[in-house]
Amino acid sequence: MSALGELETLILLAILRLGETYGVPVRDEIYKRTGKRLTRGAIYTALARLEKKGYLDSTVGPPTPTRGGKSKRFYTVNEQGLEALRTSTRVVGQMRAGLEALFTDQ
């Protein structure tokens, strides 16, 4: 199991917040909460990567006319994804231990 990159962590967290969701809201959510404007391409490639690694499950929704008859792919974080997130935040937490004073908001 490989470690999560920062981008991947952000995306997993965003999906957790939103529940079942697709690319556009993920991007909006990250922007809303962090002010980070990710490119569309980065989101899609990361989603595909995360799914391939087995952290995300996806289902295909029905096609709609506004999408030119194209269907939508919805993603959810699965148990493995959650575990990976826990691991990576735990690692960070362990490294942070004892340094809390530096990280409290002023």
Binding site: T39, G41, Y44, A48, G68, K70, S71, K72
Partner: protein, 917 residues
């Protein structure tokens, strides 16, 4: 197209980049957001911009991702190989394993190649099925490729190939500037050159030279006049070209008292000295002085201006005053020194010289210019650029035609493509056959085009041999072939992309359901029509250029001279200071020469003139008596030739007013001039100029020159120049002249029959004096206009070819659209439409395209003609005849191309048409 539909092309491009399983997700999300933004009031243009930008960034991300994946894959396979081979170094099977794993790594790439190969075979078969359209496409494209390669070779030869010497890119010409006095470029006085050489560190060597005439006599042959260069001894070292025979000059050869030496060009060695090795050590007489031949240069070498002979430059600083004897200078940079560094160093040395020698060097700076650019300044080269651009136009038209042809064929294959898609063929797989077809056509055209270019370049090379510099050669070499290859790639992408795009965007569902034979769902219209409009516009612009050049050419070749140019012998002589030290001696020689010529029984009239009529006399600023001039810049410029009495008799013209020069107009007498009619018109406004005065320059020391006669126009300004040709003549006996042209008319027979007589007459006066440039005045004029002829013909050729191509294009598109509408026409006729109505329907479609194309084309033509302005003779850049003629021609030919298919449509038998299901 509905307002909310996103731009198709960008979407298509994106779809090529996105992996198939993510298509719907990515494109769907994007379209949805686009629709939202449009609904929120984002304008159409800004919306489309947004969409394009997003597509570009998405494509980049996905392509990057794919590349990473692939390299990871290959990397893993390679690592596996390494591991295997490490573990089993003694295993004989290692190589097999290695190749096996490498094969895995290559697999991805290989399947792609296999597909392309299959498509090429498929494309070849489908082209072979309809050979006529394939042949037409190849022909049309090959003309486009051939012409542009041809022009490319010319531009390359003139500006890019440069001197054929080792490491020519380390060489630079160096000039002086005097910006305070508006001098951008002047040659370098010898004292400055020697000072630079002493102080600089940037150059391996700095060499200087000036060109001149060298009369060679001795060796039992007739004396001959050669063009020679007087060079610093290190010139050949700086160029890194050494003699093939004997030695080059060495330092010291230029010193006073050193033995006088000369180096021969290969041709001179072959022709005058029989190509024998014992030419070394031969003593000849060069400009009246004994000189020893010490070397022979390689064949084809003629630096700087196609020289025949090189002689050490002996006007070294100890021999001349500071500021005298200016030279052209070339330097070779030391290794590791950049041009900028060298320029900086020389500039600071020049500043030092300003302080040291303020009288001569005040305001003097330096300027570096590349050899090629100095030889062919941009202003002159514009004509080449215009021509290169024109042939690229031709190529574009050719491309458009082929794209159209392929497009027409593509319509027949919509169904095939739809089936492929429906069976799960990727987009790449569906569009590839079209690129493959275009590629085959382009390769065929490249081969044929190379042949065309080869023929063109060969003949251009031969035609320009006479007047082009020795170092320029036009040939089909590696750069030209690379150009061909590049063009072929661009052509196949361009010609293949349109049909591929059209196919790829067509709707699978509709295409499969469509019951007619797979064409009605195809949107040929807009793109095809735009292509035709573009073709018409381009050919319009080119034809105007052709027309202007053609008119200039006719004007030049039709110049009716106001004087007898067809029966006049001319030849040139030059006197050397060593033999004729002062103006008295020279003047005496000229007077003797003319009287001997005139008294010759076969010569009717003879005279001497500094510049032959039509060859362009020198310009000079003059001050008119009674006018005030602020500055030298305000002086009017006029052309000046120096002539002996009798000139007007030779040319068979009589003066309009006043008298000719006589034997009495000599140095001791008051200076006189004969002005031409343009001078009189410009400065005396109808009044008689006789008795009025002017002087050369604005200095009060210059003597006043009194006008004694008015001559008709004798082309003082050159045959092909459109500029004002106001000018005047001064008597030879009042001016010191070293070079002069003999001009004579025979009593009977052709002018050239006088050659032997004139040569004998000159040698009777001076046994060492050659005559050169022996030719009839007619021939001189032809030489001067030859340049015009060549370029005029090229331009006309380009225009006609483009016109033909757009004709083919227009016809092709319209006849295709008529074919598609055969049933519709049949129905119309069956319902009572008359042939006339059908013709009108089709014509309307054609006329709209021609009209739009022509409007754009005429606007572009105005730009083209402005650039050509300098090369036009006797015709305005906005010549109404040319513009009007081209307009009519394009309308006429366009209507003809439209009418042919229209007529066919009107003749449709409704029964046949309706049955043609």
């Amino acid at each position: 197209m509905s307002r909310r539909a996103p731009p198709r092309l960008s979407r298509f491009l994106l779809s090529l980049a996105v992996p198939r399983d993510q298509h719907d997700t990515v494109l769907g999300d994007l379209d949805e957001e686009y629709a939202e933004r449009i609904d929120k009031g984002l304008g159409r243009v800004r919306g489309r911009l947004w969409y394009w930008r997003e597509c570009a960034s998405l494509s980049r991300a996905f392509l990057g991702d794919r590349a990473r994946e692939r390299s990871k894959h290959v990397g893993r396979a390679r690592a596996a190989v390494r591991n295997v081979s490490k573990r089993s170094t003694r295993n004989s099977n290692t190589t097999a394993v290695r190749s096996n794993v490498n094969a895995i790594a290559r697999k991805g790439r290989r399947t792609e190649m296999g597909v392309l190969l299959k498509d090429l075979v498929f494309g070849f078969r489908s082209l072979a099925k309809r050979p006529s359209s394939a042949v037409i496409s190849v022909l049309v494209l090959s003309i486009g490729i051939g012409l542009s390669t041809f022009m490319f070779s010319i531009v390359y030869g003139v500006w890019l190939r440069g001197l054929d010497v080792p490491e020519a890119d380390r060489l630079t010409m160096i000039f002086q500037t005097n910006l305070e006095r508006d001098v951008n470029q002047r040659s370098v006085p010898v004292h400055d050159l020697y000072d630079w050489r002493e102080q600089q560190r940037s150059f391996e060597g700095l060499a200087g030279w000036y060109s001149g005439t060298v009369n060679v006599s001795g060796g039992g042959e007739d004396p001959e006049r050669f063009s020679g260069a007087f060079v610093t001894p290190n010139l050949f070292d700086v160029l890194r070209v050494q003699p093939i025979l004997g030695r080059g000059f060495v330092e010291g050869d230029e010193q006073p008292g050193a033995p006088f030496t000369a180096i021969l060009a290969y041709d001179v060695w072959q022709n005058r000295f029989g190509g024998e090795a014992d030419v070394l050590g031969t003593v000849i007489k060069a400009n009246g002085e004994q000189a020893t031949i010490i070397g022979v240069m390689p064949e084809g070498y003629g630096f700087p201006n196609g020289e025949d002979i090189w002689i050490p430059m002996r006007d070294i600083p100890s021999q001349v005053e500071r500021g005298q004897r200016s030279l052209s200078v070339m330097g070779r940079l030391n290794d590791g020194v950049t041009l900028q560094q060298a320029e900086l160093e020389l500039a600071s040395i020049a500043d030092g010289l300003v302080l040291q020698y303020p009288e001569t060097n005040e305001g003097i700076g330096v300027r570096f210019v590349s050899w090629e650019l100095n030889q062919t300044p941009m202003s002159f080269g514009k004509v080449f650029i215009v021509m290169l651009v024109s042939v690229i136009f031709v190529l574009m038209v050719a491309c458009a035609n082929v794209a159209n042809l392929l497009l027409a064929r593509a319509t027949l294959r919509v169904k095939e493509a739809a089936v492929r898609t429906a069976l799960g063929g990727s987009r790449m797989r569906v569009v590839l056959p079209f690129f493959a077809e275009a590629m085959l056509l382009a390769v065929g055209a490249a081969v044929l085009g190379t042949l065309i270019a080869f023929g063109g370049i060969k003949s251009f090379d031969a035609l320009t041999m006479q007047f082009r510099p020795f170092w320029i050669e036009f040939m089909l070499d590696v750069p030209a072939l690379l150009f061909v290859a590049g063009t072929a790639v661009v052509v196949s992408v361009f010609a293949g992309a349109l049909p591929a795009y059209q196919i790829a965007r067509s709707d699978v569902n509709v295409a499969l359901k469509d019951e007619s034979r797979g064409s009605s769902s195809f949107h040929l219209g807009k793109v095809s029509r735009a292509l035709v409009v573009g073709e018409v516009a381009l050919s319009c612009a080119l034809l105007v250029g052709s027309g202007l050049m053609a008119r200039s050419m006719i004007n030049v070749s039709d110049t009716t001279f106001s004087y007898a140019a067809d029966n006049v012998f001319t030849a040139r002589v030059g006197l050397f200071p060593t033999v004729y030290p002062d103006s008295v001696a020279r003047s005496r020689f000229f007077v003797d020469l003319q009287s001997r010529l005139e008294s010759h029984p076969q010569i009717a009239h003879a005279a001497l003139i500094s510049h032959l009529p039509g060859s362009g006399a020198s310009s000079i600023g003059v001050a008119m008596d009674g006018e005030e001039y602020q500055d030298d810049h305000d002086l009017p410029t006029l052309r000046r030739a120096i002539v002996s009495p009798g000139l007007f008799g030779v040319l068979g013209v009589s003066l309009l007013q006043g008298r000719e020069f006589t034997a009495d107009d000599v140095f001791e007498r008051p200076p006189v001039a004969i002005v031409n009619q343009w001078f009189a018109a410009r400065h005396f406004d109808g009044g008689s100029p006789l008795g009025r005065r002017f002087r050369e320059g604005n200095s009060s020391d210059a003597p006043w020159i009194t006008i004694v006669g008015v001559a008709p126009d004798l082309d003082l300004n050159g045959v092909v120049s459109a500029n004002d040709s106001a000018g005047y003549y001064l008597p030879l006996a009042q001016r010191d002249q070293r070079f002069i042209s003999i001009i004579a008319s025979p009593v009977g027979g052709g002018p050239m029959a006088l050659t032997a007589e004139v040569r004998r007459t000159v040698r009777a006066l001076d046994d060492d004096l050659p005559i050169y440039n022996v030719e009839s005045l007619d021939f001189t004029h032809q030489q001067l206009t030859q340049f015009f002829g060549i370029f005029g013909v090229l331009f006309i050729l380009f225009g006609v070819i483009t016109m033909a191509m757009s004709l083919v294009g227009l016809y092709g598109v319209l006849s295709f659209s008529v074919n598609r509408r055969i049933q519709e026409m049949g129905v119309r006729i069956a319902l009572g439409a008359r042939g006339r109505d059908v013709v009108r329907l089709i014509l309307r479609q054609g006329v709209i395209q021609i009209g739009i194309g022509m409007t754009i084309g005429l606007a572009a033509a105005a730009g083209v003609s402005r650039v050509l302005g300098n090369f036009l003779v006797g015709v305005q850049a906005r010549d109404p005849v040319v513009f009007g003629g081209v307009t009519l021609l394009v309308i006429g030919i366009g209507l003809f191309a439209t009418w042919l298919p229209a007529r066919r449509a009107s003749g449709i038998d409704p029964m046949v048409a309706l049955r043609a299901e």
